[in-house]
Amino acid sequence: MCHIYDSCFVRLASALYLVVLEASGLYVPAYGKPSLNPGGREASDVVLLNHWSIRNYDVQRGDIVSLVSSVSFWRSIPFATYTWCLNVVCLFLLRSPRNPEQKIIKRVIALEGDIIKTIGYKKKYVKVPHGHIWVEGDHHGHSFDSNAFGPVSLGLLHARATHILWPPQRWQKLQPMLPPERKPLHREQE
């Protein structure tokens, strides 16, 4: 019984946990290039995700956030069956449940009420609806982001990425940085 208590405690005593950014796994497989990686590296970074800071859905333009992917869950049913078996194994042996839902990591470009110009979306100008945000990867050509699937509901927000932990030469605190060419044309909230 005690090891179940420990796993809950370890998991929840800190509201942060680590995720490995598998570049080719998370983004469009045909390209395989990390879309949020200005250095153009192919290998994965390990980032620290903070769940606690987004408990009230307070995000700023320029924040890097992880989202629950809203595209295709049923297609991954065989994968989901395999991973839920792995989940059960992990929970009892390795004490860390793994989540079969895909997470994607992108930068917040616009908040609700902003009007922005899109890149390759079906509408040239979009007003972000209430309760939604617009996210983009830093590499626009290779990124599966709001320019593909539209504004994202805030309820799908998973965590905010606060630091890069690995590799050591890329240790840094991630600052909210909005590229100047992606600023909204009109802001409803300052």
Partner: protein, 166 residues
């Protein structure tokens, strides 16, 4: 004396944190009790009914057509809505109201579900805000707990004509 009291306090805190973590895990991964408000699911669920929702179905992708689910509102992530699943991804759904003269249909996109309340005349649902991402589903309602004269499993949809077969 002080050491004894401090020791007891820390032990109490330890137990509280552990049981709090277990409760959190239970509500997150197993299920919880929900109080429903609003007329949109009448007659199946009335205002102020108490129901039990389970979260296992959503984690294992076992949500089926006809299930009643609790979903984070797409327009307000801090509130929850309770509706019935009319279509899963790939299903054909009727996007027009029953009172409309011209019927329109569309297919539910991948990774989304189409939700409607049982009280079609008084429900804002997918007919209003479109298909809802699967990731917003929080749980499936399986049992009604209160009022006691209506205790038990929930009835099937009174709007069978809204479920279109392929």
């Amino acid at each position: 004396m002080l050491r004894n009291a401090l020791g007891k306090a820390f032990r109490f805190l330890g137990y509280t944190v552990q049981y709090g973590c277990i409760a959190h895990c239970a509500f997150e991964y197993l299920g919880g009790i929900v109080v429903c408000s609003g007329p949109s699911m009448e007659p199946t669920i009335q205002n102020s009914d108490i129901v039990f929702s389970e979260s296992l179905s959503r984690h294992f992708y076992c949500i089926r057509k006809g299930d009643i689910v609790i979903v984070k509102s797409p327009n307000d992530p801090k509130s929850n809505i309770c509706k019935r699943v009319i279509g899963l991804e790939g299903d054909k759904v009727c996007t027009s109201n029953p009172s409309d003269f011209l019927k329109s249909h569309s297919y539910v996109p991948k990774g989304h579900v189409w939700l409607e309340g049982d009280n079609l005349r008084n429900s804002t649902d997918s007919r209003c805000y479109g298909p809802v991402p699967y990731g917003l589903i929080r749980g499936r309602i399986c049992l009604k707990l209160w009022p006691l004269n209506d205790f038990g499993f929930l009835r099937a949809s009174p709007n069978g004509h809204r479920f279109l077969d392929d």
